[in-house]
Amino acid sequence: MAWTREQMAARAARELRDGYYVNLGIGIPTLVANMIPDGMTVTLQSENGMLGMGPFPYEGDQDADLINAGKQTITELPQTSYFSSADSFGMIRGGHIALSILGGMQVSEKGDLANWMVPGKMIKGMGGAMDLVAGVPRVVVVMDHREKGGDSKFLKECTLPLTGKGVVDLLITDLAVFEIDRRGGGVRLTELADGVTLDMLRACTGADFAVDLQG
């Protein structure tokens, strides 16, 4: 058993707090936008230059001048603001965005993240990922626990080129949730997915972790 993409996104949504400005990456993190609890105000930042991202437009209402960082057509809200990419990354690098939720290829027990290139394959580029992990005070990574072949993606050391060194605070996989001390204080396992046992998790995890299960 393991968590579905939706369950992983729902777990990530529990990291949201009222009043937060948040940047969501592409993939599972995007699903978090639909899971903001009722009554909570969360402002979504799109790094191409927008605060206050609205939902997809109604069919026929799309505007080529209004897209998100995934190049999807979106809408504005009454509280929306627009700005340049330099201002946008000033917000990100300057620590003004409270939370970044993004995908990963590998995470290490020291909080290193790799998610932008695989040597020998075509590199598309890191986009804004390196700036987000370097500048946002709390970084949550949501990814599958294992490669398709079964190898752990949560490791002692990343083998892929890094996106950031010591940048991940919380790792949510389809099997478990880990708190990571990005200053090198180690990893705590805090939650197991339904039906996942500690022995099963240990058998498929490359990283060392202490067990601190809640509830």
Binding site: A64, I67, K71, S84, R93, M122, D131, A134, K165
Partner: protein
């Protein structure tokens, strides 16, 4: 007619393009790209170009057309997906790509335009991006130290930008997320050419709402045709009458 205004994109580029030049071009994906000036750059035939921008167009669109015409030698960008020609020429070594983190690229251009030769950023420390670059520590407010990477400012021989409206002095206003890299790129060109959808008379734009002051714009043209291709059309169904949503 204002001395800055040109009748079309080709005449706006006439006499200033040359082989081996560095060109900056605004836009994020295909949003806010100077479509008409890019076409004119392709038609100019200038080759061995170094192109600086967040992306290099995508299959069939934007700067891809200059790339497909074999005019580009080197690219500085943060993301180059959805571009098969660039992929094959990069893998074969015909084109050099310098990948920059998006915020670092934006700030390098801003710095270049503002006369700042270099700056330090935490972005990329401990990654390939920092290889060969100077690094040093700076204190945080709490007294702890963090490592930073030195990045250099960027300028260009020609900057191509797209705005929504301009007045005849070259004051520019952008629209929605089509602003993106355009304001910084406008400041970083030795010659900056802006294309817009509408040119109005001085006084018709609110001076308090100008995004790019005209000092940064040397040449101005009203775009002849806008494709505004959407890369990823995403919509939701319109609620039917009577539905409460």
């Amino acid at each position: 007619m204002s001395r800055k205004i040109y009748s079309d994109a080709a005449s706006a580029l006439a006499g200033i393009t040359f082989d081996g030049m560095t060109v900056m071009s605004g836009g994020f994906g295909l949003c806010g790209i100077p479509e008409n000036l890019i076409e004119a750059l392709r038609d100019s035939g200038a080759k061995d170009l170094t192109v600086i921008g967040n992306n290099v167009g995508c299959d069939g669109h934007g700067m891809w057309r200059v790339l497909a015409n074999n005019q580009i030698r080197k690219v500085l960008a943060s993301y180059v997906g959805e571009n098969k020609i660039l992929e094959s020429r990069y893998m074969s070594g015909e084109i050099e790509i310098e990948f920059n983190p998006q915020g670092t690229l934006a700030e390098r251009i801003r710095a270049g335009g503002a006369g700042i030769p270099a700056f330090y950023t935490r972005t990329g420390y401990g990654t390939k991006v920092a290889e060969g670059k100077e690094t040093r520590q700076f204190p945080n407010p709490d007294g702890t130290l963090d490592w930073y990477v030195m990045e250099t400012g960027l300028t260009a021989d020609i900057s191509l930008v797209k705005a929504w409206k301009a007045d005849t002095e070259g004051n520019l206003v952008y629209r929605k997320t089509a602003r993106n890299f355009n304001p910084m790129i406008a400041t970083a060109g030795r010659i900056t050419i802006a294309e817009v959808e509408e040119i109005v008379q001085p006084g018709e734009l609110d001076p308090d709402q100008i995004h790019t002051p005209g000092i940064f714009v040397q040449r101005l043209v009203k775009g002849g045709h806008y494709e505004k291709h959407i890369e990823r059309l995403t919509t939701r169904p319109r609620p039917t009458a009577g539905e409460n949503r």
